[in-house]
């Protein structure tokens, strides 16, 4: 089918929120460099961060082809309210259990999202989604192994993981906050929609959570972390952006 103007708006909105999620979470994950619980985890979080930043760049590139600004300008020159990322990715890295569970909850959703997008009617997006699937597979494997190890790693570790899962889970539901154009995305065959994604996600994470000896919170309709997709963010996003753009903004016209 031919895309209408509204379909294109819907597509751009989808691309922006995906790219912004990847950029901000990639940025957060990179903050583990030099500080991880063991060297191997420093290295793993850095690899995942590089994949995510690379994915963000590829998605901004598609947006650029649709008439938006250059990837560097779009990533480094917007303020918080112009970002469409979800709250989950904005939170500082905190303790390792938080960063790990965020990575587990987010990356499983991304994996399913990319699976769905691999069939998208918008071919440039379907193409990158197929490429990203090859990367996210390893992120998901990494998260699953660690969640299981720490869920079953004795009383202290188990307790931390359950507490953090309880507080992290409602935030993760913010990933699936419906955007303003869900109907258009579904109608045009671009993307099957956030609610369909959320339902598949719950099915996918439940067995891993259970095999880690943890309990999945059951308030699936919690909307307390909504707002990100409409530009309303946590207090952590603007300081992150101020830091990220500190050098770039010295002279945005300069070549760095």
């Amino acid at each position: 089918m031919e895309y209408t103007e509204k379909h294109v708006l819907a597509l751009k909105e989808l691309l922006y929120k995906m790219a912004d999620d990847q950029l901000i979470l990639g940025h957060r994950n990179s903050e583990w460099t030099g500080l991880g619980p063991i060297l191997e985890e420093d290295i793993a979080f850095s690899s995942m961060a590089q994949d995510k930043i690379g994915q963000a760049q590829a998605l901004y590139e598609i947006l650029h082809e649709l008439g938006e600004g250059e990837p560097d300008t779009v990533a480094f020159m917007r303020n918080a309210e112009q970002f469409h990322c979800c709250h989950l990715v904005e939170i500082p890295i905190g303790e390792y259990d938080f960063s790990l569970l965020r990575h587990f909850l987010f990356d499983r959703a991304e994996q399913i999202r990319f699976d769905m997008l691999a069939q998208s009617s918008f071919e440039p997006l379907a193409q990158v989604a197929r490429k990203f699937r090859g990367e996210i597979k390893y992120h998901v494997m990494h998260a699953d192994v660690w969640v299981k190890q720490l869920g079953k790693g004795g009383a202290e570790s188990h307790g931390r993981m359950q507490d953090t899962l309880n507080s992290c889970f409602p935030m993760a539901l913010g990933i699936f906050e419906p955007g303003p154009y869900e109907a258009e995305l579904i109608e045009a065959g671009i993307f099957p929609g956030e609610l369909a994604l959320r339902n598949k996600w719950i099915e996918a994470i439940r067995p891993v959570i259970e095999s880690a000896g943890l309990r999945l919170p059951d308030q699936f309709d919690d909307t307390s972390a909504y707002g990100g997709r409409y530009g309303s963010h946590t207090e952590y996003l603007q300081p992150l952006l101020d830091e990220m753009t500190e050098v770039f903004r010295i002279d945005p016209a300069a070549e760095w």
């Binding site: 990179s30 903050e31 063991i38 060297l39 290295i43 850095s46 004795g154 300069a254 070549e255």
Partner: protein, 328 residues
């Protein structure tokens, strides 16, 4: 990236005390003919001790060295630089992992090495006790500190201990990309806007003394030093490596229109050697002994990372995972 191992020239007792002279002669003959020594081969106690110290210091330097540059990952201007710097610093952490494994083949566990690092008992390259206050500092580090590290590591990769040499070969291959990244970054700044040029000049001025310190003080000749050279633990004198560095990089720095803050720096065409103002070696000793601008901060960051995550290590080690010393 790494500085040089620091060998105490004033060590009093003979380092060969109590060794089996026959085995020692066979060991030295193997090294003389270019054999590599492997973990389960016989080796003198002092050889093992020196290598553990050197490799461990090198590993610590990689992990501590990731801190000053790591703080610029979150500020790197643009996707290209951000991705490159992330990959570069990740490599450095990977080098630490590789080197701890090489040192473990000699019988000291990683955990015990990291404990010695955070207690201040083990040293690491002095250069990482200086701050990197601007983006240009991270560029100068990536170019010139990594350049110095390559000279040092290529030299040491011809040494006698197999696992260390193999680790260094791989490390040098990765460092050569860092050098390209650092050079490209400095070129953009040095040929950029007025603000960029000023930023990179100031960074070079700040980093020149630590760069001159990087290879260590001039070696005093000593019996100890001669034995380490014969065992191919130490492969070149600190001054030789410093000369090699200046030969390769001073002209490149000048080509970019940057000023090196040493009015006496020039190449003596008769001797072929660089002449320069000796850096302040008292400062070098002071910083090595813990009194540099960032020693406390660097160790505090590392100590906090270790302490905050003890529960993670307890959780994974509590599951019947048995510790295995790497073979090579």
């Amino acid at each position: 990236m790494y500085g040089n191992a620091y060998i105490d020239p004033n060590q009093q007792h003979s380092i060969l005390e109590g060794e089996d002279m026959e085995k020692l002669a066979a060991f030295e003959a193997r090294i003389a003919q270019g054999d590599k020594i492997e973990p389960h081969d016989w080796m003198p106690k002092e050889y093992r001790k020196q290598l553990i110290r050197m490799i461990e210091q090198h590993a610590h330097s990689e992990i501590i060295g990731s801190l000053p540059e790591g703080t610029w990952i979150t500020r790197a201007p643009g996707f290209r630089r951000k991705l490159a710097l992330m990959a570069k610093v990740q490599d450095e952490v990977g080098h630490a992992q590789l080197l701890y494994a090489a040192a473990e083949t000699l019988g000291k566990r990683r955990e015990s090495m990291i404990n010695d690092l955070i207690s201040g008992k083990s040293k690491y390259s002095n250069v990482f006790n200086y701050p990197a206050p601007t983006w240009a500092d991270s560029a100068v580090i990536a170019w010139l500190i990594d350049a110095g590290a390559i000279i040092n590591q290529v030299t040491n990769s011809k040494g006698s201990y197999g696992p260390y040499c193999r680790a260094l070969d791989r490390i040098c291959a990765e460092e050569s990309f860092h050098l390209k990244y650092g050079h490209d970054n400095v070129v953009f700044l040095a040929t950029g806007t007025k603000v960029q040029r000023q930023m990179v000049q100031e960074a070079l001025t700040r980093w020149w003394p630590p760069i001159m310190h990087f290879f260590g003080p001039p070696d005093k000749s000593s019996v100890h030093g001669e034995i380490l050279m014969r065992w191919k633990v130490k492969m070149a004198s600190n001054d030789d490596m410093r000369q090699q560095f200046m030969n390769m990089y001073v002209p490149k720095i000048w080509d970019l229109g940057l000023q090196i803050p040493d009015p006496n720096l020039r190449k003596n065409e008769q001797t072929g050697k660089w002449e320069y103002t000796e850096p302040d070696w008292n400062e070098f000793k002071r910083v090595i002994n813990g009194d540099g601008p960032c020693n406390a901060e660097r160790l505090a960051v590392r100590r906090t990372a270790e302490e905050r995550h003890r529960w993670v290590r307890r959780a994974i080690l509590g599951q019947g995972v048995e510790y295995v010393t790497p073979l090579a």
